[in-house]
Amino acid sequence: MPAIRIRRCRLGLMLPALLCLLLGGAGRLLAEAPQEYQVKGAMVFNMAKYIEWPTGVFSGSGAPLVVCSIGRGPFTGALEQYRGKTVLGHPLQVRRMQPGEELGECHLLVVSGVEKRYLAGILDQARKRSLLTVSDIPDFARLGGIIGLVEVEGRVRFEINVKAAQQSRFKISSQLLKLARIVREGE
């Protein structure tokens, strides 16, 4: 990820960026990975606020919103820090899932670091259970996921597969849609 960092600095001014590199050096490189996933975690957390789950998914107003994470990588760890926080009144629960594990209690499924051959199965399962699927796997939305996190010009952006969302009876806020790149399956 050093490339991203340098580019971001170039967006501002070159001099402070160079200073950052020279002084900050090796220590900062070690922390790069979780930094990126923290942004992604925050995005997942915020995104949940702009999405209306189909009626009947939550047992009540105070019912927990269960975020399930599948796959390797630091994504799950980044989500862990949101455990207990509320999203539109629902306290957040984070669960680490193994591929093939029953997803019955999940509302939001974060997919990360999963090989593409397993992806179709996960998505299929998620679609059956009306789970909101988010992943940083490239072209996730085109592959049938609902929201895909992509890197555009050094920033994390997202793509929304509106059709997939509608199929799973999710209502996504227009404000969120405004920020997102709308993609279709197979494009």
Binding site: G12, L13, P16, V39, M43, N46, M47, K49, Y50, T86, V87, L88, R155, R157, F158, S173, Q175, L176, K178, L179
Partner: protein, 723 residues
Amino acid sequence: MRRPGEKFIRNLPLQRKLMLIIMGCCTATLFVSSLFFVAREAKVLYRNQQEYLVSLADMIGRNSAPALAFNDPKPALDTIRPVTEKGNILAVYILNKDGRLFVRYQAAGQVHTALPLEGLPDWASQDQVAEAVRQVTSEAYTSSFLSGYASVVRPIRLDGEQIGTVVIHANASGFLNSLRWNVLVALGFMAVTFLVFCLFSARLQLMISAPLLGLLAAMKEISASKNFALRVTKPCDDEIGLLYDGFNEMLHEIEERDQILRQRQAHLQQLAHYDPLTRLPNRTLFYDRLAQALFHAERAREAVAVIFIDLDHFKDINDTLGHRTGDLLLIEVAGRLGTVVRSCDTVARLGGDEFTIFCQNVANEENAALVAQKLVALFATPFRLGSSEIRVTASVGVTLFPHHGKTVDELLMNADIAMYHAKGCGKNVFALFDKRMNEHASERVTLLADLRQAVELGQFVLHYQPKVDLLTGKVTSVESLVRWMHPRLGMLAPDKFIRLAEESGMIAELTAWVLRTACLQAKAWQDANLAPVRVAVNLSPFHFQRQDVKQSVCAVLEATGLDPTLLEIEITESALMQNDEYTCRVLRELREMGITISVDDFGTGYSSLSYLHRFPINTLKIDRTFILNMMKSSEDQAIVTAIIAMAKSLKMQIVAEGVESVDQLEALKDQGCHEIQGFLVSRPVNAERVARFFTDEDHLQLQNSAAQPLAEGTAQHLVNGKA
């Protein structure tokens, strides 16, 4: 400490002061209320502006929340731009959760350098940004008014969590313009209202100042015109009305006092220049007028007649009929005098019974005499005072300016001399002054000077005239009569100098001498073992005025050691009547001591027979005029008879004075008269010769037979009396 403007305000006219107060109050109220409304309006305007900005900020916040949440500035800018294109937004800043600048937007063409966040670079630290935001928050209010921009800082929330801050700066010129307009309207309103107040207060202050100024004007008018009869009409019933009432009361008081003062002044004037009894001019005014008349006459070469009038025997009238009658008579006389003179002439009363007149422009002496004649003729008719009639005459002296004198004093003195001359000529006449009278008058002055030394020089002697009892023919008493042995004029009878002595006050000394000498003589006779004969002394009415009769009589009796029964006091009728209470008391005391009291010259005065008996009188002496005429006039004869009868019934002794003939003696004897005195017995002779009568002989028998023992002087005087 006195404020500098205080004196100025205090000395302002009342109207200005009242206007100032009314205007001051109104303006202050107006100013405060205007200020209140402007402030309120400013607040409302500010709130409206802020509310608009807040709603704008909230809208921006809401719409840019996702952009913030997903750290995507571009959509945020897209949100801001349409919102800020219209209106007066200067700049919008969005800060992210960390407090760093996330988006900044500045409206095109509306540059405002003073905005705190504008100066910061994009990568400014959290602290710098926080400091700038704090500045914006704290200056939000003042900057609207002073710096010309309004600010709003609003948090951006997402699901109850603050994810950023929006800061909006708007141009405050609209707000300021509205405010300015408001202030202008308020000022305009104040100006208009101030003018209205001016007019209003000018009218309003009249309510208080007009009555006060009216009072002031009235006061000025009154003090200028001195017309205290003016009154002010009160315009209202408040305190000013009371002030008017008080003013009127004070005027009333002043008017009354003024009137009293004027009356007193007139009265004083009257007193100073007029005689209170007759209301004729007094001496002062007469002198003044005469002086003026003389001045004019001298220039016009005219003559002025100055006339002096004195009533004859006025003193007797006063003494016998009382001062009240005397005063009434004077009033009547004054009235009559006024009828004779012309209006240009002045009648005045100098005092007592002396009147003066001057007539201007008198042609000659004859005309003056004519006036004097008229004046004398005035007294021909008796004066009627109540029920009684009084006959009184006057002596008139006339002088002429400039022939008889040039000055007021000279003319009056000469008129007085002429008047005395008239009196000397038998009274009830007038006399024109001539130079010889002056000599006569100076003779009188010389005589008076001589009289003053006469007692000391021993120029007086006493002669005695005996009274004889008609029954026994013996001498009962002798009347002492004073004679003045004048070195130049020879022996003078009392009628020549007694009046002078009375006028000059010498009478007291003279009487004392007479009393002492007579008593000493009587004592001498007593010591010589002669038959007891009383000695009679005449007391002047003057003595009874001095009220020391008893003391002087007692003192002499004590000094001489004479038995009081040997002293007889003779007084005139008029002395008896004046001061009658005192007289009565003194006479009674003297009589109780044994002194005999006789009334001299009885029948000539104005005796009131009704109270004659109240006096302790031993003897009445019938006046010589009745005796003189009794043989010729049956009326006088009747009077003598009546007096004798009355005296007898009152148990008084009767003495007939001035008996000169045997016929008279016989007639009196027939009437029952007790004693006689007169030339028939003896004329007044010295002590040595009168002592010869002090025998037991019947002096009347001797007289009748013209025998020898009677002193030759007596016989001689019988001859003289007849002659």
